[in-house]
Protein backbone atom coordinates (compact mmCIF):
# COMPACT_ATOMS: atom_id res chain seq x y z
CA UNK A 1 0.00 0.00 0.00
CA UNK A 2 2.75 2.45 0.97
CA UNK A 3 4.56 1.52 -2.26
CA UNK A 4 1.44 2.40 -4.21
CA UNK A 5 1.05 5.74 -2.40
CA UNK A 6 4.73 6.57 -3.00
CA UNK A 7 4.33 5.90 -6.70
CA UNK A 8 1.16 7.99 -6.95
CA UNK A 9 2.98 10.80 -5.13
CA UNK A 10 5.90 10.52 -7.55
CA UNK A 11 3.52 10.76 -10.51
CA UNK A 12 1.77 13.81 -8.99
CA UNK A 13 5.13 15.51 -8.51
CA UNK A 14 6.36 14.68 -12.01
CA UNK A 15 3.12 15.69 -13.63
CA UNK A 16 3.01 19.04 -11.78
CA UNK A 17 6.60 19.82 -12.69
CA UNK A 18 5.89 19.01 -16.31
CA UNK A 19 2.68 21.08 -16.37
CA UNK A 20 4.44 24.14 -15.01
CA UNK A 21 7.38 23.71 -17.36
CA UNK A 22 5.01 24.48 -20.24
CA UNK A 23 4.06 27.92 -18.90
CA UNK A 24 2.81 29.32 -22.19
CA UNK A 25 0.41 26.43 -22.71
CA UNK A 26 -0.88 26.79 -19.16
CA UNK A 27 -1.44 30.54 -19.52
CA UNK A 28 -3.08 30.19 -22.95
CA UNK A 29 -5.49 27.54 -21.55
CA UNK A 30 -6.56 30.01 -18.87
CA UNK A 31 -6.92 32.81 -21.43
CA UNK A 32 -9.16 30.68 -23.67
CA UNK A 33 -11.42 29.73 -20.75
CA UNK A 34 -11.66 33.35 -19.56
CA UNK A 35 -12.47 34.64 -23.06
CA UNK A 36 -15.14 31.98 -23.56
CA UNK A 37 -16.60 32.72 -20.13
CA UNK A 38 -16.66 36.48 -20.79
CA UNK A 39 -18.36 35.99 -24.17
CA UNK A 40 -21.00 33.76 -22.58
CA UNK A 41 -21.61 36.22 -19.72
CA UNK A 42 -22.01 39.17 -22.11
CA UNK A 43 -24.36 37.06 -24.22
CA UNK A 44 -26.56 36.80 -21.11
CA UNK A 45 -26.15 33.06 -21.19
CA UNK A 46 -27.80 31.37 -18.26
CA UNK A 47 -30.67 33.83 -17.66
CA UNK A 48 -33.09 30.93 -17.44
CA UNK A 49 -30.99 29.38 -14.67
CA UNK A 50 -32.09 32.21 -12.35
CA UNK A 51 -35.77 31.51 -12.78
CA UNK A 52 -35.35 27.71 -12.60
CA UNK A 53 -33.47 27.91 -9.28
CA UNK A 54 -35.67 30.76 -7.88
CA UNK A 55 -32.60 32.94 -7.82
CA UNK A 56 -33.07 35.39 -10.72
CA UNK A 57 -30.69 38.01 -9.30
CA UNK A 58 -27.84 35.53 -9.27
CA UNK A 59 -28.17 33.82 -12.64
CA UNK A 60 -24.59 34.78 -13.53
CA UNK A 61 -23.31 33.09 -10.38
CA UNK A 62 -25.30 29.97 -11.23
CA UNK A 63 -23.82 30.06 -14.71
CA UNK A 64 -20.29 30.58 -13.33
CA UNK A 65 -20.74 27.55 -11.10
CA UNK A 66 -21.72 25.39 -14.06
CA UNK A 67 -18.85 26.80 -16.08
CA UNK A 68 -16.35 25.91 -13.33
CA UNK A 69 -17.79 22.38 -13.11
CA UNK A 70 -17.56 22.09 -16.89
CA UNK A 71 -13.94 23.31 -16.99
CA UNK A 72 -12.94 20.74 -14.34
CA UNK A 73 -14.89 18.07 -16.22
CA UNK A 74 -13.37 18.69 -19.65
CA UNK A 75 -9.97 18.68 -18.08
CA UNK A 76 -10.79 15.35 -16.44
CA UNK A 77 -12.06 13.64 -19.58
CA UNK A 78 -9.32 14.93 -21.84
CA UNK A 79 -6.53 14.19 -19.35
CA UNK A 80 -6.27 10.45 -19.80
CA UNK A 81 -6.44 10.39 -23.58
CA UNK A 82 -4.21 13.43 -24.08
CA UNK A 83 -1.72 12.05 -21.60
CA UNK A 84 -1.65 8.64 -23.28
CA UNK A 85 -1.24 10.15 -26.76
CA UNK A 86 1.50 12.47 -25.51
CA UNK A 87 3.31 9.73 -23.59
CA UNK A 88 3.19 7.40 -26.58
CA UNK A 89 4.88 10.12 -28.65
CA UNK A 90 7.41 10.85 -25.91
CA UNK A 91 8.10 7.11 -25.54
CA UNK A 92 7.48 7.13 -21.81
CA UNK A 93 4.20 5.21 -21.97
CA UNK A 94 5.95 1.84 -22.17
CA UNK A 95 8.13 2.72 -19.19
CA UNK A 96 4.99 3.49 -17.21
CA UNK A 97 3.46 0.17 -18.22
CA UNK A 98 6.61 -1.40 -16.76
CA UNK A 99 5.95 0.13 -13.34
CA UNK A 100 5.43 -2.24 -10.41
CA UNK A 101 1.81 -1.12 -9.97
CA UNK A 102 -0.95 -1.21 -12.61
CA UNK A 103 -0.99 1.72 -15.03
CA UNK A 104 -4.41 3.06 -13.89
CA UNK A 105 -2.81 3.94 -10.52
CA UNK A 106 -0.35 6.14 -12.36
CA UNK A 107 -3.31 7.72 -14.16
CA UNK A 108 -4.77 8.42 -10.70
CA UNK A 109 -1.59 10.36 -9.90
CA UNK A 110 -2.06 12.41 -13.07
CA UNK A 111 -5.71 12.91 -12.18
CA UNK A 112 -4.84 14.36 -8.76
CA UNK A 113 -2.17 16.57 -10.29
CA UNK A 114 -4.67 17.65 -12.93
CA UNK A 115 -7.21 18.46 -10.19
CA UNK A 116 -4.66 20.74 -8.52
CA UNK A 117 -3.85 22.48 -11.80
CA UNK A 118 -7.57 22.80 -12.63
CA UNK A 119 -8.09 24.36 -9.20
CA UNK A 120 -5.57 27.06 -10.09
CA UNK A 121 -7.43 27.64 -13.37
CA UNK A 122 -10.77 27.78 -11.52
CA UNK A 123 -9.34 30.21 -8.96
CA UNK A 124 -8.16 32.50 -11.76
CA UNK A 125 -11.57 32.37 -13.47
CA UNK A 126 -13.38 33.08 -10.19
CA UNK A 127 -11.00 35.95 -9.40
CA UNK A 128 -11.46 37.41 -12.89
CA UNK A 129 -15.21 36.99 -12.62
CA UNK A 130 -15.36 38.69 -9.21
CA UNK A 131 -12.95 41.52 -9.89
CA UNK A 132 -13.70 42.32 -13.54
CA UNK A 133 -17.27 41.16 -14.17
CA UNK A 134 -18.63 41.57 -10.65
CA UNK A 135 -19.96 38.03 -10.60
CA UNK A 136 -18.92 36.23 -7.42
CA UNK A 137 -19.47 32.82 -5.96
CA UNK A 138 -19.56 31.31 -2.47
CA UNK A 139 -18.38 27.72 -2.50
CA UNK A 140 -19.60 25.53 0.34
CA UNK A 141 -19.08 21.90 1.41
CA UNK A 142 -22.02 20.60 -0.65
CA UNK A 143 -20.62 22.24 -3.80
CA UNK A 144 -17.20 20.67 -3.17
CA UNK A 145 -18.68 17.22 -2.55
CA UNK A 146 -20.77 17.50 -5.72
CA UNK A 147 -17.64 18.53 -7.63
CA UNK A 148 -15.60 15.58 -6.36
CA UNK A 149 -18.37 13.08 -7.15
CA UNK A 150 -18.86 14.64 -10.59
CA UNK A 151 -15.16 14.43 -11.33
CA UNK A 152 -14.94 10.78 -10.30
CA UNK A 153 -17.56 9.99 -12.95
CA UNK A 154 -15.98 12.26 -15.55
CA UNK A 155 -12.59 10.55 -14.99
CA UNK A 156 -14.39 7.29 -15.69
CA UNK A 157 -15.53 8.78 -18.99
CA UNK A 158 -11.93 9.87 -19.56
CA UNK A 159 -10.74 6.29 -19.04
CA UNK A 160 -12.89 5.21 -21.99
CA UNK A 161 -11.26 7.84 -24.19
CA UNK A 162 -7.89 6.88 -22.72
CA UNK A 163 -8.50 3.26 -23.68
CA UNK A 164 -9.35 4.33 -27.21
CA UNK A 165 -6.20 6.48 -27.26
CA UNK A 166 -4.12 3.39 -26.44
CA UNK A 167 -5.37 1.82 -29.65
CA UNK A 168 -6.04 4.72 -32.01
CA UNK A 169 -3.64 7.21 -30.34
CA UNK A 170 -5.14 10.33 -31.92
CA UNK A 171 -8.56 10.79 -30.42
CA UNK A 172 -8.02 14.44 -29.51
CA UNK A 173 -10.56 15.65 -32.09
CA UNK A 174 -13.18 13.32 -30.62
CA UNK A 175 -12.40 14.71 -27.17
CA UNK A 176 -12.78 18.27 -28.43
CA UNK A 177 -16.22 17.51 -29.87
CA UNK A 178 -17.24 15.80 -26.62
CA UNK A 179 -16.14 18.85 -24.61
CA UNK A 180 -18.39 21.13 -26.68
CA UNK A 181 -21.28 18.67 -26.54
CA UNK A 182 -20.93 18.57 -22.75
CA UNK A 183 -21.15 22.36 -22.52
CA UNK A 184 -24.63 22.30 -24.03
CA UNK A 185 -25.92 18.86 -23.02
CA UNK A 186 -25.39 19.00 -19.27
CA UNK A 187 -27.41 22.08 -18.29
CA UNK A 188 -24.18 24.04 -17.94
CA UNK A 189 -25.46 27.06 -19.86
CA UNK A 190 -29.20 26.91 -19.25
CA UNK A 191 -32.00 24.88 -17.69
CA UNK A 192 -35.72 25.09 -18.35
CA UNK A 193 -37.12 21.88 -16.93
CA UNK A 194 -35.98 18.86 -14.91
CA UNK A 195 -33.23 16.99 -16.73
CA UNK A 196 -34.02 13.94 -18.81
CA UNK A 197 -32.66 10.51 -17.86
CA UNK A 198 -30.28 10.69 -20.82
CA UNK A 199 -28.80 13.89 -19.43
CA UNK A 200 -28.68 12.56 -15.89
CA UNK A 201 -26.48 9.66 -16.97
CA UNK A 202 -23.73 12.25 -17.38
CA UNK A 203 -22.48 13.07 -13.86
CA UNK A 204 -21.87 16.70 -14.80
CA UNK A 205 -25.64 17.26 -15.17
CA UNK A 206 -26.44 16.08 -11.64
CA UNK A 207 -23.34 17.79 -10.26
CA UNK A 208 -24.40 21.13 -11.76
CA UNK A 209 -27.91 20.72 -10.39
CA UNK A 210 -26.81 19.91 -6.83
CA UNK A 211 -24.23 22.71 -6.74
CA UNK A 212 -26.75 25.29 -7.96
CA UNK A 213 -29.34 24.14 -5.46
CA UNK A 214 -26.68 24.41 -2.74
CA UNK A 215 -25.84 28.05 -3.53
CA UNK A 216 -29.54 28.93 -4.02
CA UNK A 217 -30.47 27.49 -0.59
CA UNK A 218 -32.84 25.02 -2.24
CA UNK A 219 -33.52 21.59 -0.79
CA UNK A 220 -31.20 18.85 -2.03
CA UNK A 221 -32.94 15.50 -1.74
CA UNK A 222 -31.13 12.22 -1.05
CA UNK A 223 -32.29 11.07 -4.50
CA UNK A 224 -30.28 13.94 -6.05
CA UNK A 225 -27.11 12.67 -4.38
CA UNK A 226 -28.00 9.08 -5.25
CA UNK A 227 -28.40 9.97 -8.93
CA UNK A 228 -24.99 11.60 -8.99
CA UNK A 229 -23.36 8.79 -7.06
CA UNK A 230 -24.82 6.07 -9.29
CA UNK A 231 -23.94 7.91 -12.50
CA UNK A 232 -20.36 8.40 -11.31
CA UNK A 233 -19.96 4.79 -10.18
CA UNK A 234 -21.39 3.62 -13.50
CA UNK A 235 -18.85 5.65 -15.50
CA UNK A 236 -15.97 4.59 -13.25
CA UNK A 237 -16.85 0.91 -13.59
CA UNK A 238 -17.48 1.08 -17.33
CA UNK A 239 -14.40 3.29 -17.84
CA UNK A 240 -12.13 0.91 -15.92
CA UNK A 241 -13.47 -2.11 -17.79
CA UNK A 242 -13.07 -0.45 -21.20
CA UNK A 243 -9.59 0.78 -20.32
CA UNK A 244 -8.56 -2.69 -19.18
CA UNK A 245 -9.90 -4.29 -22.37
CA UNK A 246 -8.25 -1.68 -24.59
CA UNK A 247 -4.97 -2.00 -22.75
CA UNK A 248 -5.00 -5.77 -23.29
CA UNK A 249 -5.91 -5.28 -26.97
CA UNK A 250 -3.03 -2.80 -27.37
CA UNK A 251 -0.56 -5.24 -25.79
CA UNK A 252 -1.89 -8.08 -27.92
CA UNK A 253 -1.40 -6.04 -31.09
CA UNK A 254 1.89 -4.40 -30.13
CA UNK A 255 0.36 -0.93 -30.11
CA UNK A 256 1.75 0.46 -26.85
CA UNK A 257 4.87 1.90 -28.40
CA UNK A 258 3.27 3.16 -31.59
CA UNK A 259 2.03 6.70 -32.09
Amino acid sequence: MSKCINIIKAEIKRSLKESFSYRMGFVSDIMVLILLYTALIFGNTGMRLGSYYNNPGNYKTLFLLGYIFWSYSISAISLTCNEISAEAVKGTLEQKFMAVIPYPFLVLGSVISNFLVSSIVAAVIIAFSTLVLGVNIAINGKVLLALLLTLAGMYGMGLILGGLALIAKRVNQMTLVLQIVLLFATDTTTKRSPSSVAKLIIPLTSGNDIARKAVSSMAIYPTDWLQLLLASILWLVVGSAVFGACSRYARKNGLLGTY
Binding site: I7, A10, K13, E94, F97
Partner: protein, 242 residues
Protein backbone atom coordinates in the same frame (compact mmCIF):
# COMPACT_ATOMS: atom_id res chain seq x y z
CA UNK B 1 17.73 -15.94 -15.97
CA UNK B 2 15.62 -15.41 -19.10
CA UNK B 3 14.04 -18.42 -20.75
CA UNK B 4 11.93 -18.06 -23.84
CA UNK B 5 10.17 -21.14 -25.19
CA UNK B 6 8.39 -21.58 -28.50
CA UNK B 7 7.21 -17.99 -28.83
CA UNK B 8 4.85 -17.20 -31.68
CA UNK B 9 3.66 -13.73 -32.51
CA UNK B 10 1.69 -12.67 -35.54
CA UNK B 11 0.36 -9.14 -35.99
CA UNK B 12 -3.07 -9.20 -37.56
CA UNK B 13 -2.46 -5.78 -39.10
CA UNK B 14 -0.43 -6.51 -42.21
CA UNK B 15 -0.57 -10.25 -41.50
CA UNK B 16 3.05 -10.17 -40.29
CA UNK B 17 4.64 -13.12 -38.52
CA UNK B 18 6.99 -11.34 -36.13
CA UNK B 19 8.17 -14.40 -34.21
CA UNK B 20 7.97 -18.03 -35.25
CA UNK B 21 8.78 -20.67 -32.63
CA UNK B 22 11.49 -18.64 -30.94
CA UNK B 23 13.31 -20.24 -28.02
CA UNK B 24 16.41 -19.07 -26.16
CA UNK B 25 18.01 -19.17 -22.78
CA UNK B 26 20.14 -16.44 -21.22
CA UNK B 27 22.20 -17.26 -18.17
CA UNK B 28 22.62 -15.12 -15.06
CA UNK B 29 25.53 -12.70 -15.41
CA UNK B 30 25.65 -13.09 -19.18
CA UNK B 31 25.50 -10.35 -21.80
CA UNK B 32 23.57 -11.71 -24.76
CA UNK B 33 23.28 -9.85 -28.03
CA UNK B 34 20.27 -10.18 -30.24
CA UNK B 35 21.51 -9.38 -33.71
CA UNK B 36 19.35 -8.95 -36.75
CA UNK B 37 18.36 -6.47 -39.43
CA UNK B 38 15.46 -4.05 -39.02
CA UNK B 39 12.17 -5.94 -38.95
CA UNK B 40 13.81 -9.20 -37.87
CA UNK B 41 11.67 -9.52 -34.74
CA UNK B 42 14.16 -8.20 -32.13
CA UNK B 43 11.93 -5.49 -30.74
CA UNK B 44 8.87 -7.76 -30.61
CA UNK B 45 10.89 -10.33 -28.69
CA UNK B 46 12.18 -7.88 -26.11
CA UNK B 47 8.77 -6.28 -25.68
CA UNK B 48 7.30 -9.70 -24.98
CA UNK B 49 10.04 -10.32 -22.40
CA UNK B 50 9.21 -6.90 -20.88
CA UNK B 51 5.50 -7.82 -20.70
CA UNK B 52 4.51 -5.02 -23.08
CA UNK B 53 3.35 -7.28 -25.88
CA UNK B 54 1.33 -10.45 -25.37
CA UNK B 55 2.48 -13.42 -27.48
CA UNK B 56 0.05 -15.68 -29.35
CA UNK B 57 1.66 -18.70 -27.73
CA UNK B 58 4.83 -19.73 -25.97
CA UNK B 59 6.34 -19.01 -22.59
CA UNK B 60 8.64 -16.44 -21.01
CA UNK B 61 10.32 -17.01 -17.67
CA UNK B 62 12.31 -14.22 -16.02
CA UNK B 63 14.18 -14.84 -12.75
CA UNK B 64 12.26 -18.07 -12.33
CA UNK B 65 8.85 -16.40 -12.68
CA UNK B 66 6.59 -17.34 -15.57
CA UNK B 67 5.15 -14.27 -17.32
CA UNK B 68 1.39 -14.16 -16.80
CA UNK B 69 -1.03 -11.33 -16.12
CA UNK B 70 -0.92 -12.03 -12.38
CA UNK B 71 2.91 -12.25 -12.23
CA UNK B 72 3.73 -9.44 -14.67
CA UNK B 73 4.14 -6.75 -12.02
CA UNK B 74 6.42 -8.97 -9.94
CA UNK B 75 8.64 -9.46 -13.00
CA UNK B 76 8.70 -5.71 -13.57
CA UNK B 77 10.66 -5.39 -10.30
CA UNK B 78 13.39 -7.54 -11.83
CA UNK B 79 13.64 -5.85 -15.24
CA UNK B 80 14.98 -2.51 -16.38
CA UNK B 81 14.62 -1.58 -20.02
CA UNK B 82 15.59 1.17 -22.40
CA UNK B 83 13.84 1.18 -25.73
CA UNK B 84 15.01 2.40 -29.08
CA UNK B 85 15.65 6.09 -29.56
CA UNK B 86 15.83 8.90 -27.04
CA UNK B 87 12.20 8.60 -26.11
CA UNK B 88 12.47 7.01 -22.68
CA UNK B 89 12.69 10.19 -20.62
CA UNK B 90 10.63 13.28 -19.76
CA UNK B 91 12.39 16.02 -21.67
CA UNK B 92 10.77 18.98 -19.92
CA UNK B 93 12.03 18.09 -16.44
CA UNK B 94 15.52 17.65 -15.03
CA UNK B 95 17.63 14.50 -15.12
CA UNK B 96 17.36 14.26 -11.32
CA UNK B 97 13.55 14.50 -11.47
CA UNK B 98 13.53 11.74 -14.08
CA UNK B 99 15.71 9.58 -11.82
CA UNK B 100 13.43 10.01 -8.81
CA UNK B 101 10.35 9.33 -10.93
CA UNK B 102 11.70 6.18 -12.58
CA UNK B 103 13.15 4.86 -9.33
CA UNK B 104 9.80 5.45 -7.61
CA UNK B 105 7.66 3.68 -10.19
CA UNK B 106 9.86 0.64 -9.71
CA UNK B 107 9.00 0.66 -6.02
CA UNK B 108 12.12 2.28 -4.55
CA UNK B 109 12.10 4.84 -1.72
CA UNK B 110 13.76 8.25 -2.06
CA UNK B 111 16.65 7.09 0.14
CA UNK B 112 17.28 4.01 -2.00
CA UNK B 113 17.07 6.07 -5.19
CA UNK B 114 19.53 8.63 -3.84
CA UNK B 115 22.01 5.89 -2.98
CA UNK B 116 21.64 4.26 -6.39
CA UNK B 117 21.99 7.57 -8.24
CA UNK B 118 25.43 7.88 -6.60
CA UNK B 119 26.33 4.41 -7.76
CA UNK B 120 25.00 4.32 -11.32
CA UNK B 121 25.34 7.98 -12.30
CA UNK B 122 29.00 7.58 -11.44
CA UNK B 123 29.29 4.49 -13.62
CA UNK B 124 27.58 6.09 -16.62
CA UNK B 125 29.07 9.55 -16.06
CA UNK B 126 25.74 11.30 -15.67
CA UNK B 127 26.44 12.94 -12.30
CA UNK B 128 27.30 16.29 -13.84
CA UNK B 129 24.00 16.25 -15.75
CA UNK B 130 21.65 15.95 -12.76
CA UNK B 131 20.34 19.51 -12.79
CA UNK B 132 20.04 19.78 -16.58
CA UNK B 133 16.71 19.49 -18.38
CA UNK B 134 16.74 16.37 -20.56
CA UNK B 135 15.94 18.40 -23.68
CA UNK B 136 19.29 20.18 -23.37
CA UNK B 137 21.31 16.94 -23.50
CA UNK B 138 23.09 15.40 -26.47
CA UNK B 139 21.91 12.07 -27.84
CA UNK B 140 24.72 10.18 -26.11
CA UNK B 141 23.98 11.89 -22.80
CA UNK B 142 20.27 11.09 -23.10
CA UNK B 143 21.07 7.45 -23.73
CA UNK B 144 23.35 7.27 -20.69
CA UNK B 145 20.72 9.02 -18.56
CA UNK B 146 18.02 6.59 -19.77
CA UNK B 147 20.20 3.59 -18.90
CA UNK B 148 21.00 5.06 -15.48
CA UNK B 149 17.26 5.55 -14.89
CA UNK B 150 16.62 1.91 -15.81
CA UNK B 151 19.21 0.79 -13.26
CA UNK B 152 18.00 2.72 -10.23
CA UNK B 153 15.89 -0.14 -8.88
CA UNK B 154 18.87 -2.49 -9.28
CA UNK B 155 17.22 -4.88 -11.72
CA UNK B 156 18.47 -8.41 -12.18
CA UNK B 157 17.98 -8.07 -15.92
CA UNK B 158 18.73 -5.05 -18.11
CA UNK B 159 17.26 -5.00 -21.60
CA UNK B 160 18.44 -2.51 -24.19
CA UNK B 161 17.01 -1.99 -27.65
CA UNK B 162 19.46 -0.50 -30.16
CA UNK B 163 21.49 1.29 -27.47
CA UNK B 164 24.25 2.35 -29.88
CA UNK B 165 21.97 4.20 -32.32
CA UNK B 166 23.12 7.74 -32.91
CA UNK B 167 25.98 7.58 -30.39
CA UNK B 168 29.36 9.09 -31.09
CA UNK B 169 32.46 6.91 -30.70
CA UNK B 170 33.27 8.17 -27.19
CA UNK B 171 29.75 7.52 -25.92
CA UNK B 172 29.80 4.05 -27.46
CA UNK B 173 33.02 3.05 -25.77
CA UNK B 174 31.85 4.50 -22.46
CA UNK B 175 28.66 2.46 -22.81
CA UNK B 176 30.52 -0.74 -23.68
CA UNK B 177 32.71 -0.37 -20.59
CA UNK B 178 29.75 0.42 -18.32
CA UNK B 179 27.77 -2.60 -19.51
CA UNK B 180 30.73 -4.86 -18.80
CA UNK B 181 30.99 -3.44 -15.28
CA UNK B 182 27.31 -4.28 -14.74
CA UNK B 183 28.03 -7.87 -15.70
CA UNK B 184 31.40 -8.29 -13.98
CA UNK B 185 30.84 -6.40 -10.74
CA UNK B 186 27.09 -6.61 -10.27
CA UNK B 187 26.41 -9.98 -11.88
CA UNK B 188 23.63 -8.41 -13.90
CA UNK B 189 22.14 -10.19 -16.90
CA UNK B 190 21.92 -8.10 -20.06
CA UNK B 191 20.04 -8.61 -23.29
CA UNK B 192 20.97 -6.17 -26.02
CA UNK B 193 19.05 -6.03 -29.29
CA UNK B 194 20.93 -4.36 -32.07
CA UNK B 195 21.77 -4.41 -35.75
CA UNK B 196 25.18 -2.94 -34.94
CA UNK B 197 27.60 -5.87 -35.31
CA UNK B 198 30.64 -4.06 -34.02
CA UNK B 199 28.91 -2.77 -30.92
CA UNK B 200 27.76 -6.28 -30.04
CA UNK B 201 31.15 -7.81 -30.86
CA UNK B 202 32.72 -5.42 -28.35
CA UNK B 203 30.11 -5.94 -25.65
CA UNK B 204 28.44 -9.32 -25.50
CA UNK B 205 29.39 -12.86 -24.50
CA UNK B 206 27.07 -14.54 -26.94
CA UNK B 207 25.39 -13.48 -30.15
CA UNK B 208 21.95 -14.73 -31.13
CA UNK B 209 21.05 -14.12 -34.75
CA UNK B 210 17.40 -13.42 -35.41
CA UNK B 211 15.96 -12.96 -38.86
CA UNK B 212 12.45 -13.15 -40.26
CA UNK B 213 11.13 -14.01 -36.82
CA UNK B 214 13.28 -17.08 -36.25
CA UNK B 215 16.50 -17.71 -34.36
CA UNK B 216 18.82 -18.34 -37.28
CA UNK B 217 21.99 -19.06 -35.32
CA UNK B 218 23.80 -18.46 -32.06
CA UNK B 219 27.44 -18.60 -31.04
CA UNK B 220 29.94 -17.45 -28.43
CA UNK B 221 31.32 -14.04 -29.33
CA UNK B 222 34.88 -15.39 -29.56
CA UNK B 223 33.90 -17.99 -32.16
CA UNK B 224 33.42 -15.62 -35.06
CA UNK B 225 34.86 -12.45 -36.56
CA UNK B 226 32.97 -9.31 -37.49
CA UNK B 227 33.67 -9.89 -41.17
CA UNK B 228 32.27 -13.40 -41.00
CA UNK B 229 29.08 -12.15 -39.32
CA UNK B 230 28.67 -9.38 -41.85
CA UNK B 231 29.24 -11.73 -44.78
CA UNK B 232 27.22 -14.65 -43.50
CA UNK B 233 24.21 -12.72 -42.22
CA UNK B 234 24.41 -9.59 -44.39
CA UNK B 235 24.30 -7.31 -41.35
CA UNK B 236 26.77 -4.49 -40.85
CA UNK B 237 27.75 -2.11 -38.06
CA UNK B 238 29.75 1.04 -37.87
CA UNK B 239 31.78 0.90 -34.67
CA UNK B 240 35.39 0.54 -35.74
CA UNK B 241 37.73 -1.96 -34.13
CA UNK B 242 40.61 -0.59 -32.04
Amino acid sequence: MITVSHLHKKYSKGNIVALNDVSMDIKKGEIAGLLGPNGAGKTTLIKIICGLTIPDSGEVIVSGIRMEEKTRLKIMEKIGAVFEGNRNLYWAISVLDNYYFYGSIKGKTSGQIKKNIEKYADLLKTKELLSRQVKTLSMGQKQRVAITAALLHEPEVLILDEPSNGLDIDSRFLLVDALKVLRDEMNMTLLIASHDVEFLRKTVDRIIIINNGIIADEFENIDITTDEIEKRYKISGDLKED
